[in-house]
């Protein structure tokens, strides 16, 4: 089975790489397989890991084995079942309204959790982390190193925030432009932003290269398996 997987992986990798010569049926076959298998697998996992054990099984337990009845799980399962059925009504234009309530509940809960987490988990801690002393005697870094690090942190944070200042003053006869003190410091923030994006781009290239290298290793592995199995296919 592992050998078959290795050969298939090599074959599909070559199909994808065939896009180098342009769009072709092999590439489309591999891409369609990828999309279809991903979607199908996700549905199966959701069904077997979530829907069946957490919603269907508790309801069936009530019918088949009432002695194992769990009130909290059954109530939750019934609520989930009802909401799921109502959500199906979104497929029909005449019954969209009740389904919209379920969607609103999902969106509202998700947004509330995300906003609360962002506020308490990112915004406040990051603001606190930005308050660093310009000179610190902690750690193994020297005084000058700490001073330089603190200076860059403060200047970089403030200048980057200044870059996103888009308020302008409208004067008669002149175009609206940002205040002079913002225009002077915004390019500094631009430098920090550009450097960050450059690092991210470099990281993305390295990540892509790693995936590309692994793909080629899969191809070579598949060819190796085929070479080892040459006696089965009638080759010396």
């Amino acid at each position: 089975m592992n050998n078959l997987g290795a050969v298939l992986a090599a074959l599909l990798t070559l199909f994808i790489l065939s896009y180098l010569i342009g769009d072709n049926p092999f590439y489309r076959l591999a891409a369609s397989l990828f999309v279809g298998l991903t979607a199908g697998y996700a549905v199966v996992v959701a069904l077997s890991n979530v829907i069946w054990p957490q919603m269907i099984t508790p309801l069936l337990t009530v019918l088949k084995a009432p002695e194992n009845f769990d009130v909290s799980r059954t109530v939750l399962a019934v609520i989930a079942f009802i909401l799921s059925i109502v959500l199906i009504f979104k497929l029909f234009a005449s019954t969209t309204r009740p389904a919209s309530c379920v969607t609103a509940l999902m969106v509202g809960v998700g947004v509330a959790v995300a906003v609360g987490g962002t506020l308490a988990g990112t915004l406040i801690p990051q603001v606190q982390a930005a308050f660093i002393p310009l000179w610190s005697t902690k750690g193994t870094a020297s005084f000058l190193e700490s001073l330089a690090e603190g200076f860059f942190m403060v200047v970089g944070t403030v200048a980057t925030l200044w870059f996103f200042y888009y308020g302008g003053r409208a004067r008669p006869g002149l175009p609206t432009e940002r205040p002079g003190w913002v225009k002077a410091l915004a390019p500094v923030g631009e430098v920090f932003l550009g450097t960050t994006f450059g690092v991210m781009y470099a990281g993305a290239i390295v990540a892509s290269l790693a995936v590309f290298a692994q793909s080629w290793l899969n191809v070579l592995n598949g060819l190796q398996v085929l070479w080892n199995l040459r006696s089965f296919i009638g080759l010396p």
Binding site: G121, A204, V206, F212, Q214, S215
Partner: protein
């Protein structure tokens, strides 16, 4: 009738009739119209009577010709000619017919009577378009050309057909060829292996990650979140494998989960590769599978694991998972020694960090991320444990290679993967330098030409 009329006419009337008679014996106005009741004709010859001199002098004089001025007609320009007012066609008025007979009033029975509502006062629309623009042939051609030009811009034109060889993306193939040669070089030539070694100096964040994992005890399992797809497995599998292999060497139990359905499968494949002993499932590792709900699911995890996972990834029921495995003593998040987040995107790591802050006490969080995600995850790392949201950070193949070297165990990352990646990175650097020089020089030359 005329004799009877003449006999009865008064004498003065008879005299008027004799004076008006023409030599032809015909009344000058033609034969008299048939008389109606009480109607008499005008005396014949009235129109031929000589007009008195004062009346004949009132005739309009003929205009005298203007002498000495001869104006040649000028050729008007076409645009001015086009502005010449078009003669308005006089409205057609249906002529009155004489056979109309009045039927009312004192004129009843008479013909040739003017109607009370003549046609000339009836409102009507001119049949001629007054504002007709006169367009010359040249103008019509230019207008047609403009219309066709505008229409072409909105039409989709198929690409011109080229031969197979001309249609090949040569630049793309050239880059592929260079990378292919770089990848194959260490595999073909043994001298090329080990040519590039990972940097000996390790950054503080990666060292902290190693220390956190190394200091764990077998009594405290580790929760590993496999939040990446098989597409990113090429980069993250070596990293995750290095960490999990280190955990296995320290006999630390591993619990796998994932917030994506396919990530659960990726995690299962990796755990099966590391824990080759099939009996290890349940005693050394368990894969709980897919955690639905995204950030909501992560938040619920802080309240407990058991309500969220009624079965594990392999379909074993809740009784087996929570009562017979090592999870029987680890049902709260606080029971874990550490949480390892393996993710390709910074958004997932951020969501985990934001939601796990509600867990108290919170286990140490270690992030193993893609090289592209590291800049956005690093702000959450702090060397001081009291301030840190993430206690350690390892990224990419380089991080995996250094981790393997630190832990003293050879792995995929520090072996042929690093050799291939090293040569590929050199090829990319060379192409970037050559490309920058080439386009920079050609750009300067083209600007000079202009």
């Amino acid at each position: 009738m005329e004799a009877a009329a003449g006999a009865e006419q008064p004498e003065w009337l008879r005299e008027l009739g004799a004076a008006a008679t023409l030599p032809g014996g015909e009344a000058p106005g033609g034969p008299a119209a048939p008389l109606g009741a009480g109607e008499a004709t005008l005396p014949a010859g009235t129109e031929a009577a000589k007009l008195p001199g004062w009346l004949s002098n009132l005739a309009p004089a003929k205009p005298a010709p203007v002498a000495g001025v001869h104006l040649a007609p000028v050729a008007l320009p076409s645009w001015l000619e086009a502005m010449r007012p078009v003669e308005v066609q006089r409205p057609t008025i249906t002529p009155e017919v004489d056979d109309y007979e009045e039927t009312v009033g004192v004129l009843a029975g008479l013909h040739g009577v003017l109607r009370p509502q003549p046609a000339v006062t009836q409102p009507g629309k001119s049949a001629t378009q007054v504002h007709k623009l006169a367009i010359s042939d040249a103008q019509a051609k230019q207008a047609d050309l403009l219309v066709r030009t505008l229409a072409e811009g909105t039409q989709a034109h198929p690409a011109a057909k080229r031969s197979f060889w001309m249609a090949l993306p040569l630049a793309r193939l050239a880059v592929f060829a260079v990378l292919f040669v770089a990848f194959v070089t260490p595999l073909i030539f043994p001298e090329a292996k080990g040519f590039y070694t990972p940097a000996p100096r390790w950054n503080q964040a990666a060292q902290d990650a190693y220390n956190v994992v190394n200091d764990l005890s077998p009594a405290e399992p580790v929760l590993v979140a496999f939040d990446y797809d098989p597409a990113q497995a090429g980069e993250l599998d070596p990293l995750a494998q290095a960490i999990i292999s280190n955990l296995q060497r320290h006999s630390v139990p591993v619990v796998g989960i994932s917030t994506s359905p396919v990530g659960a499968a990726t995690g299962e494949a990796l755990l099966s590769r590391v824990f080759t002993d099939t009996a290890a499932y349940g005693s050394q590792y368990v894969n709980l599978g897919y955690l639905p709900g995204g950030p909501v699911g992560m938040l619920e995890l802080t309240s407990g694991l058991k309500p969220l996972f009624a079965a594990d990834y392999r379909g074993n029921d809740t009784k087996w998972v929570w009562d017979t495995t090592f999870l029987s003593r680890t049902q709260q998040l606080s029971s874990f020694g550490a949480i390892v987040l393996v993710s390709a995107t910074p958004d997932t790591v951020r969501a985990w960090v934001e939601q796990l802050q509600y867990a108290s006490p919170r286990p140490a969080i270690v992030a193993a991320v893609s090289a592209g995600a590291e800049p956005l995850v690093r702000p959450y790392y702090d060397p001081e444990p009291a301030k840190a949201q993430i206690r350690g950070l390892v990224s990419g193949i380089l991080g995996a290679a250094q981790y393997e070297r630190q832990s003293g165990a050879a792995g995929v990352a520090s072996g042929e993967m690093w050799d291939v990646l090293g040569w590929g990175l050199v090829a990319i650097i060379v192409m970037l330098i050559v490309g920058t020089l080439f386009y920079g020089v050609t750009g300067l030359l083209s600007r000079q030409k202009r």
